[in-house]
């Protein structure tokens, strides 16, 4: 598979703080790549370096496996943090500036404005736009050069539910068109829903990289509750089913040992005369994986 992006031990220091610490990452063509991490983990700094606005302290990165100049950025559509435009210029004039930078024909402007539903408002100054419209203009601007790669940094920040849904649909559409998407987010269910690959950053270091599809194959987590919690607790600690368990409210959360099916577990409960008032199977969500990764890292 062809790599769109290769990062080699990229490092950035702000004074004594190392914001990004010898990061290695590869992004395959056509993937939807989620970069996860708590606030301050170096996500935005990394994207800033990839887009030329932050100077790396050391290390390197390579876009499209070719020669690296500022011109490669014209093939990338990026939306970082809040939309940045000239407040006094109209949407159309703002996109003319971008078209001039990206060396794109101005006939594309109406096309992209139409796609995000702003064509009828193209002569309004940017400052009169609502936050949702500003975000849509940023998307239009990113689409102007019909880019092979889209980079989005917290694209749903500050949007209302409708805006969030619109952005999510748009990302899926863009991915279906065969574009590679790199998405930084701390909204884990968002990443789980739309990404094919993900990496987790913590304190500037990559602590995990994998495929979202592989997540479900991990061990099963179960949540159970009974009218007789003492008996249930005794069963859980004596039996060989649970790899670990803990009480949470009136219920118990446990991880089944590898190879044990939920039906075996349930049969054994019935045989012991335990009646459940609650049984919930949690597949291993990205959130659990994420928290587990962060926990194991901070213990290490």
């Amino acid at each position: 598979m062809e790599n769109v992006l290769e990062i080699n031990s990229l490092t950035k220091k702000f004074g004594k703080i190392t914001a990004v610490d010898s990061l290695d990452l590869t992004v395959e063509k056509g993937s939807v790549f989620g970069i996860l991490g708590p606030n301050g983990s170096g996500k935005s700094t990394t994207l800033g370096m990839l887009l030329g606005v932050v100077n790396p302290a050391s290390g390197s990165f390579k876009w499209f496996q070719g020669e690296q100049t500022h011109k490669v950025r014209r093939r990338i559509g990026a939306i970082l943090e809040s939309p940045c435009f000239y407040h006094y210029l109209s949407a159309e004039n703002n996109l003319k500036v971008v078209a001039e930078i990206k060396q794109v024909d101005t006939s594309r402007i109406d096309v992209v404005l139409d796609r995000v539903g702003l064509l009828s408002r193209k002569n309004d100054p940017f400052k009169n736009y609502s936050l949702g419209m500003k975000q849509r203009l940023a998307i239009a601007s990113a689409l102007l050069s019909n880019p092979e790669v889209m980079i989005l940094d917290e694209p749903t920040n500050g949007l209302d539910p409708q805006g969030i849904a619109d952005i999510r649909d748009l990302i899926i559409d863009l991915a279906n068109e065969g574009r590679t998407i790199i998405l930084a987010s701390h909204l884990l269910d968002e990443v789980q829903r739309i990404c094919t690959d993900f990496a987790v950053l913590r304190l500037g270091k990559k602590i995990f990289q994998g495929k979202v599809a592989d997540l479900d194959q991990d061990k099963t987590n179960v949540e159970v509750g009974s009218d007789d919690p003492e008996k249930l607790a005794a069963f859980l600690s004596d039996s060989h089913f649970a790899a670990s368990f803990r009480k949470e409210g009136s219920n118990f959360k446990l991880a089944l040992k590898p190879g044990i099916e939920i039906t075996d577990f349930h049969r054994a409960l019935i045989a012991s005369g335990i009646v459940l008032n609650r049984l919930q199977i949690n597949t291993n969500t990205l959130e659990q994986k994420f928290l587990q990764l962060l926990k194991s890292e901070s213990n290490a």
């Binding site: 800033g48 887009l51 030329g52 606005v53 932050v54 100077n55 100049t69 500022h70 011109k71 490669v72 950025r73 014209r74 990338i76 990026a78 970082l80 809040s82 940045c84 435009f85 000239y86 407040h87 006094y88 210029l89 109209s90 004039n93 003319k96 500036v97 971008v98 001039e100 930078i101 990206k102 601007s141 050069s145």
Partner: protein, 267 residues
């Protein structure tokens, strides 16, 4: 390079403050230049004479004199076009569009060149306006309108553009460091109108050489104050090599400062 000039034009073409300030600068220049005769007339009416001569006979619009007079006047109003430079630079920081420009695919060097080309364009525009005003006033008033007379000292027109450009580089350097428009304007005004004149006065009193080495003193020395010649004081009507070199030296310092700021800092 033309593409970078166009880029700057696209950014500013509907900026109201830009057009208003540009208008103020040229109208002020035009008004003062055209009222020179009226001012002399007024002085005569007030009974002002110098060594028995009437002020109206002073040849302020003669081609031999007019270019230096206008060039000096244009530089006197330099704050107005300098504000345009400040707007052009600090807008980018205010709207964070300097980052967006880079993200969209402009190189930092191109960003630098587009700002520099805007400063050059503005300086040339001002020189062009001075040329037009000078030609009109000269043909209306001058006693000698031969080509020799017109070209005599016409070097002050490019000198004016150069002088303005140097002041713009200084302004741009300040704007890049400070990044906030109001604060940059304040610092520029206070430095131009107070700090340097006072520093030059004090330094110049004790160490005349050092006083004249201050950047704005060096810039303004390119075109000497012309009007003292009308009270028969010795006034240079040429561009001195030493003055030119001093100013150019500062120009390089600020140019390098601007480039360094844009290259090294994180956006």
């Amino acid at each position: 390079m033309l593409r970078l000039v166009k880029l700057e034009f696209l950014k500013l073409k509907t900026n109201r403050a830009f057009w208003i300030l540009l208008g103020i600068y040229f109208v002020a220049l035009l008004l003062i230049a055209f009222s020179g005769g009226a001012i002399l007339q007024y002085l005569e009416n007030q009974g002002v004479t110098y060594r028995g001569l009437s002020p109206v006979i002073l040849p302020i619009y003669d081609f031999e004199d007019i270019w230096q007079n206008l060039a000096w006047l244009g530089y006197f109003f330099k704050i107005f076009p300098a504000l345009l430079i400040i707007i052009s630079v600090t807008n980018e920081f205010q709207f964070k569009t300097h980052r967006q420009n880079i993200i969209d695919g402009l190189s930092r060097t191109e960003f630098f060149l587009s700002k520099l080309s805007f400063a050059i364009f503005l300086a040339l525009l001002s020189a062009l306006v001075i040329l037009i005003i000078g030609l009109i006033l000269g043909f209306l008033n001058a006693s000698d309108t031969s080509v020799d007379a017109i070209l005599y000292n016409a070097v002050f027109i490019p000198a004016h553009a150069y002088q303005l450009l140097l002041y713009f580089l200084f302004t741009m350097f300040l704007a890049l460091i400070i990044r906030k428009s109001a604060f940059t304007i304040m610092v520029l005004l206070i430095y131009t109108l107070m700090i340097e004149p006072i520093a030059a006065g004090i330094l110049g009193h004790f160490y005349p050489l050092i006083g004249s080495l201050l950047p704005l003193q060096a810039f303004s020395s390119i075109v000497a104050f012309p009007f003292t010649r009308y009270i028969l004081l010795e006034t240079p009507d040429y561009i001195g090599l030493v003055e030119f070199l001093k100013a150019t030296g500062w120009g390089f310092v600020f140019l390098f400062g601007i480039f360094w700021q844009l290259k090294r800092r994180d956006f």
